[in-house]
Amino acid sequence: MTEHGTPYVGRSLLRREDRRLLTGRGQFIADLELPRMLHAAFIRSPLAHARIRSVDLSRAAAAPGVALALSGVELARLLPPLPDTQLSLPSKWTSRVEHEFHNPQQPGLAHDKVRHVGEAVAVVVADSRYAAEDAAELVRLDLEPLPAVVSAEAALAADAPLIHEHLQTNLFGAFSMGKGDVAAAMAGAPHRLQRRFYHHRYAAMPMECRGVTALHDPRTDSITIWSATQVVHWVRREVAAILGIPEARVRCVALDVGGGFGLKGHVYPEDLVIPFLARRLGRPVRWIEDRHEHLQCSAHSRDQLHDVEVGFDDDGQILALRDKFIVDCGAWNPIGGGVPYNTAAHLTGPYKIDHLAVSARTAATNKVPNTAYRGAGRPEAVFAMERIIDLVAGSLGLEPAEVRRRNMICAEEMPYRPGILYRDGEPIVYDSGDYPGALQKALDAVGGVTVFRQRQQEARRQGRYLGLGIGFYVEGTGVGPFEGATVRIEGSGKVYVSSGASSQGQGMETIFAQIVADAWRVAPDDVIISFADTAGIASGSGTFASRSTVNVSAALHHANERLRQKAFAIAANLLECAAADLELRDGGIGVVGVPGAAVSLARVAHAARPGWDHGRPQGIEAGLEETYYWEPPTVTWSYAAHAAIVEVDREIGSVKIDKYAIAHDCGVVVNPLLVEGQIAGGTAQGLGGVLFEDIVYDREGQLLAGSLADYMVPTAGDMPEMVMVHQHSRSPLNPLGVKGVGEGGAVAPPAALANAIADALAPFRAEFNTTPIKPEQIAEAVRQAPPA
């Protein structure tokens, strides 16, 4: 706390990490130079599906500056494949949810077949990237083309070519879940409606691509890996397993990371191949992914096809919901079933729906693997559900906001148990919140429904088409299994903190310093945050799934509390009083009610040290350091209402976002400035996804969005102003009362925009149940459905 006793938590502190990033002194993976470093270039498949007949490396190996050229066939003899899944679901889930999984193990380099354009089949290592790329061009691939499977539906057809023959199916996984009696409730519903929704494939597209540098120390046979990853402890685990060396001999560090958004949230083949090469060659090796590679080998996301049936009554009350969906997973499934299960668990969102049946299938296709990206299965669920609500409203002639209200869980019903399981295997409990309140705030922020409907009518008379759309989501945040924190008070009195979490721009060096500064009554600048380094803490989960503020703050709370007790015991010894008489003061520990009777944290740390002449009382062990691993009981639920007013040009199909408002709740807020930054960034990704961004493959599985000239990341001119309104429903599940915020912004925009565009074009009876919604789709929808 400050001298005036105001906590740092809750204040918009400016970021401590800014100075290095603003002055060009940040250090990203491509900025790391090591002596005698070699550079790797991968040779990637130009075909979507083909048998590898041969890989001729002879000319590449003889090229100037080349240290090694290696094919997948050779590597397969030297290195086992990746595990079948890096993120297993807990037994509480596997024992309670009907499921099957068939996950293949990806090799470091393809050796029998290539399964998507961009899959690596060989690698060349040379003394510069230029030399490595020159040599890579000399590699001759002899590929026997096989028919490509480019949609999930086609993959699951009876006669589909098999992508992984040994599985004897293209089905990577399936599960079903639900509650109540959908068949009976659907049969008894006064109204029923069926629609197909497709949420297209797009990608996280961080401005920094991936990259890995590895250094082998032959003296101890240990490896240090610098990777632009969100999960340093996963990288350590997989490298140790694959190279067969103890985890204690593997260190993974993430430097400044230029955005992750989930894409950098699992271990890629390059994370393993580069350390292998460094060890084999006895020189540091680095690989920096370029943007063309990024688009064809770093994970994509979304790409779900939903067939939904809903039963409802005359008032718009939803009585039953059935959803059968399939996920186009691409050629590999590194993180297993978590994302599709997220979709199922978030489908009913803020609504009370007693009868639910969801079945999901995940299909292998000849595309880049589909993994978690900001929202991780939730945008697809919210798109389907929120479109359904508007379609129900439209069929009954009701206001969509009113249908939402009639189905919504109220604040008085919290905590609310929807009667289904989360992916941690625990029954879902919406722990706190006011959903109708958020809806109303978002609508008010765009001027209110009544005023808008008048404006809309007037505009239509002038031949202009305005629409109002809502996207509402709830999001389980802070998922387990755990995150830890180590807190140590140094002899200088500075507080050192390490954790398995890591920042890709979230501002963790600032927010965790705020939290720790309050806990010890020191200045944030006296807190040293050292994350993203496996040397800092034995175990770590990593940063993904809107989990780090929730789990690290809780781990810090418990570590700090244990350490405080120890510090008080030592301070009591120094001050010759009882520990119960002590309190924390600015920068030290003092006797309650006795000004001046105090010792600094530095003095306490000095007294805590091991060795001669320490100041510890009897029975207190040396050192002033604690580690606590927080295992959350389950997730805590954030939510938001997004409201958009758009104007659609029916002739050219353009969409102008006139107003965009977000009413959001992530519990207790550590730093409002940074929370708003997270929401704005997520929202822009959601808007970019629904309006511009599109990973397009042709029928042969060729990637047509192979550059940023083809894959349209939104610019400043494309994005609207955003109005944000906040609610603060404390989480009862962690000491600070926080909920996660990282992903939420990206979840609702596709639904809000689709609803707004459909509302604008209601006179044409146009529905928008497929993303992206580009001008050509809008113009076509208008052409197909002339006004009644």
Binding site: L14, D18, Q27, G259, H292, G677, G681, G682
Partner: protein, 167 residues
């Protein structure tokens, strides 16, 4: 590969001299040969703008130029913006308005904004959005970048002093 060429140029007011192949990209030369790694590479095909620098006073994509084209040129990179420990008004405004998250696009964004404000010192919000649309940011949704550029424009016009107390 081919003959090595000597290049003399001025970067951030300092003279440099280096040797490289004619095919070497300017951004690689600045980063690898001159050691100025503040300028980033985001796409190497001229779309993302992370590599934007001032080339003889005008914004340019250093990934779309060869180092040899910079013979005798004057460059400004992000490292040349601050005066010692004192932020340039754009840096100060980016800090105060939380206009950066991961910081990867930031060097290019700062230089693009500097170039834009040189041609339009008193822009409207729409003009700022247009003016910085040559650089992609994936973190911020541009909301705070637009605010920061507006605030910096005001300071650079001399209408307001930066507030160092907030640093």
């Amino acid at each position: 590969m081919s003959e090595i060429r000597e290049i003399r140029l001025t970067v951030n007011g300092k003279s440099y001299q280096g040797r490289c192949e004619p095919r070497k990209l300017l951004v690689d030369f600045v980063r690898e040969d001159l050691g100025l790694t503040g300028t980033h590479i985001g796409c190497e095909h001229g779309i993302c703008g992370a590599c934007t620098i001032l080339f003889n006073g005008e914004a340019a994509r250093s990934c779309l130029m060869f180092a040899v084209q910079a013979e005798g040129a004057e460059l400004l990179t992000v490292e040349g913006l601050a005066k010692g420990d004192e932020y340039h008004p754009l840096q100060q405004a980016f800090h105060e308005h939380h206009a950066l998250q991961c910081g990867y696009c930031t060097p290019g964004m700062l230089i693009a904004a500097l170039d834009f404000l040189a041609t339009n010192p008193a822009p409207t919000e729409d003009e700022i959005r247009e003016g910085i649309s040559s650089v992609l940011c994936r973190c911020t949704g541009y909301v705070n970048i637009v605010k920061a550029v507006a605030a910096a424009a005001e300071v650079m016009r001399g209408a307001r002093q930066p507030n160092p107390a907030n640093d």
